[in-house]
């Protein structure tokens, strides 16, 4: 690896000299490439974590216990962490809410994952991943958190795995500081992730729990909220669940002019549905073009005057590889579709890839 960290200041410290010397000894590799063989979680390494255990929660959800590397900076209850997991040999990045309490003595964190139908990563984590596996991590992010100045009354509106960020907040002691109501939807009683723990909290009087089992009682409508939680509009509300539910909830709070009391978390912010051709944006060059489904992105870019790297123009030399920041492309040789959302770090060969929908190329 040739990547060298950008120097922060002009002052060359002893440590810098030592690192440079070590780099001269290991060139073309970095000293870290050797250290990674024995200490992948060490300080200074790219942030990674080791999966220690996978505990089933329901028939299709599990909690994954992770020992993060030394560089882990902690999280706030409700935040999520991006996980880079190798599934079938391909690195896939997904975001999962952290469900453990911040600052655990052993430094471990947990995320709770629900296997969604055809979900590559979720099914892998729930059903197949083995303890000991190393995963890539990002620092925790997200503003789906309860502010320091805790509001007196809180409503959580959740469905399915939407309970996971909320569980992080509840476990971190939110019920001690606020009057909490949780309205949670799941197909059936056994499908409620953390069902036993939530019911125990409710029984102990820490919170009020309204469970909705949608297999028998149908989906919860926003118009039912007034009946279930009469003061719902007076409460600061955090909602997390499927897109349809979030859309309905946002519309409802807006119609009451109370959008500022609602906080939502959208787990799948971008849904990419591949099509034929589309708008291609070269983000660096600031150029946008319409490309059909048969035109290689390389040609589309060049015609628009973008300085594109190129090579053999037949898919063999990999001289034209650039990052696909977001969107979908189709391999013109075999029709395979590659999709990416920001942060995935997907690189594509522009000479044999055509737009399969809107795509952003980092160039």
């Amino acid at each position: 690896m040739t990547t060298t960290a950008p120097r922060r200041s002009q002052k060359v410290t002893f440590r810098d000299r030592l690192l440079r010397l070590a780099g001269a000894v290991t060139t073309p590799l970095l000293p870290g490439d050797y250290l990674d063989l024995v200490a992948p979680l060490r300080a200074g390494a790219p942030l990674r974590g080791r999966i220690l255990a996978v505990r089933p929660e329901t028939r299709d959800a599990a909690t994954v216990v992770i020992q993060p590397g030394r560089g882990w900076q902690g999280h706030l209850p409700g935040q999520y962490v991006r996980l880079g997991v190798d599934v079938d040999g391909v690195r896939q990045w997904r975001a999962y809410s952290v469900t453990s309490v911040p600052g655990a003595a052993d430094g471990r964190i947990t995320v709770t994952v629900k296997a969604i139908p055809d979900g590559k990563v979720s099914n892998h984590l729930v059903r197949r991943v083995r303890p000991g596996t190393i995963v890539q991590l990002d620092q925790a992010q997200g503003d789906f958190v309860v502010p320091e100045a805790t509001p007196g009354r809180v409503l959580f509106l959740t469905a399915g795995s939407g309970i996971t960020p909320v569980m992080g907040m509840l476990r971190a002691g939110l019920p001690d500081r606020a009057d909490v109501v949780v309205v949670h939807s799941a197909p059936a009683r056994d499908d409620v992730i953390f069902g036993a723990e939530l019911r125990a909290l409710a029984e102990a009087g820490a919170l009020r729990l309204v469970e909705r089992h949608t297999d028998t009682d149908g989906l919860l409508g926003v118009d039912e909220l007034a009946g279930l939680v009469p003061d719902h509009l007076d409460r600061q509300t955090w909602a997390c669940g499927p897109i349809g539910m979030l859309d309905a909830v946002e519309g409802y709070w807006e119609s009451h002019g109370l959008a500022d009391r609602l906080h939502t978390e959208r787990f799948r912010p971008t849904v990419i549905s591949p099509g034929e051709g589309g708008t291609v944006t070269f983000t660096g060059a600031g150029v946008t073009v319409e490309a059909d489904g048969a035109t290689p992105i390389l040609d589309a870019g060049e015609q628009a005057g973008v300085l594109m790297p190129s090579g053999c123009r037949m898919g063999i030399c990999f001289g034209c590889v650039v990052p696909l920041r977001e969107g979908a492309v189709r391999d013109l040789r075999n029709g395979d579709v590659t999709t990416a959302v920001p942060g995935d770090g997907v690189l594509v060969q522009t000479c044999v890839s055509a737009a399969a929908g809107t795509c952003d190329i980092e160039l």
Binding site: M1, T2, T3, L21, A24, V25, T26, T27, P28, L29, D33, Y34, L37, D86, D88, G89, V90, R91, Q92, G311, C312, M314, G315, I316, C317, F318, G319, V321, R333, N334, D336, D344, G345, V346, L347, Q349
Partner: protein
């Protein structure tokens, strides 16, 4: 070999344009099957090879700290030579081909990889992936045919300079990585045409200079220094390891396109070349090396040169798996699958370098009775 179109016994004369396109479709199908199946097993393979290489390199260098003791010198030098060969062949060459880009691991990717070699990856990728693999064995286009210093085909014009080519080839073999760097820089051509002041050329030359400095500093200064009293013997050890790596990779690479049985092509034959015709040129322009699994790994699976040239971006561990299917295709269409054990192929390539250092009499070449069919015309 001579340009295939001029041969009396042109081995593709019996193929129709449709045959060639069907061959292309069958090869596409082989490629698609591998891609559909590519996954965790392959990822595990390359990570294991990388881990083995790094462990071997660091432990060999540790042993060489005591290289004053002859057994340590021998073990350390052998280990380091193997580590350097693995770095260049099974790992570097193949990662830089983009064979592992599909894993989306930024640490094992053609755009980030660097190797223990004096040619900077981007320059090598240009001359190798872009030019050699695209124009394989096309006279005047593919400079790998003799690297611009040798005559390895009857149809390359003879020049008195070629009298010395057995000697150049030996020197090139000993310092092969420098030869490749000079080749990737197109050093001779650029100097001859007075382009040494061209800023682009200077920038590329500077990048090579940096690679050379870093390798020299590491292998011939720092590691010997770390060895203290073993300074000189470690210096000799790292030099020897580099020499072994150079001789080995030169031998393997000579076997790829120089041995008897390999065809060359005329420049005009690739105008308007179809995918099927491109495949056919790769099939006939490459030669394999037969041997054990260990040999294949040590050659970076370039012992499956034919499969590699057909599918330069498939993971190298897959070449031996698809080789029987590829060979069956050759047989079905009456094409010659050139292969042989390493000593035989090396000897064949060397014999050609020696033989063609002398001019061949033009009457040696039988002219075909009918006008020569072109690969690209599809009327053959």
């Amino acid at each position: 070999m001579t340009v295939i179109q001029k041969k009396a016994d042109n081995q593709i004369a019996h193929l129709s344009a449709e045959d060639i396109e069907i061959i292309g479709k069958e090869l596409d199908a082989i490629r698609d099957r591998v891609i559909a199946d590519r996954g965790e097993r392959d990822a595990r393979y390359i990570r294991k090879v990388i881990k083995t290489q790094r462990t071997l390199e660091i432990s060999s260098r540790a042993v060489l700290l005591f290289s004053l003791f002859p057994p340590a010198w021998i073990v350390g030098t052998a280990g380091l030579a193997v580590a350097k060969i693995l770095d260049n062949m099974e790992i570097g060459h193949n990662v830089l081909h983009g064979q592992w880009d599909w894993m989306r691991d930024p640490k094992i990717h053609s755009t980030t990889w660097d190797w223990d070699h004096v040619s900077p990856p981007d320059q090598w990728k240009h001359s190798h992936n872009e030019l050699h693999h695209r124009y394989t064995n096309v006279l005047g286009k593919d400079n790998d045919l003799g690297y611009g210093i040798m005559r390895v085909d009857e149809d390359q014009p003879w020049h008195p300079m070629h009298l010395g080519q057995p000697f150049y080839n030996l020197v090139n073999a000993c310092f092969f990585e420098y030869g490749i760097a000079a080749y990737d820089l197109e050093l001779g051509d650029n100097l001859k045409n007075g382009r040494h002041k061209d800023p682009a050329f200077r920038a590329r030359a500077k990048a090579v200079g940096r690679k050379i400095r870093r390798q020299v500093l590491k292998d011939y200064v720092l590691h010997p220094l770390l060895s203290g009293p073993s300074f000189l013997s470690t210096l000799a050890a790292t030099f020897t390891a580099n020499l072994i790596r150079n001789l080995w990779s030169h031998s393997v690479i000579m076997c790829g396109h120089f041995p008897n049985g390999v065809e060359t092509f005329e420049k005009t034959s690739i105008e308007g070349e179809t995918r099927g015709e491109w495949y056919l040129r790769q099939m006939l322009g490459s030669a394999n090396i037969s041997g054990s699994r260990l040999l294949h790994i040590m050659t970076g699976n370039l012992s499956y040169q034919i499969e590699h040239h057909l599918f330069p971006d498939l993971p190298s561990n897959r070449y031996q798996e698809i080789a029987p299917q590829v060979r069956a295709l050759f047989d079905r269409y009456g094409l010659k699958y050139t292969t042989g054990p390493l000593p035989k192929q090396v000897a064949s390539a060397w014999w050609k370098v020696i033989r063609l250092s002398l001019p061949n009499r033009r009457s040696d070449r039988r002219q075909p009775v009918a006008p020569a069919p072109l690969v690209s015309s599809g009327t053959a």
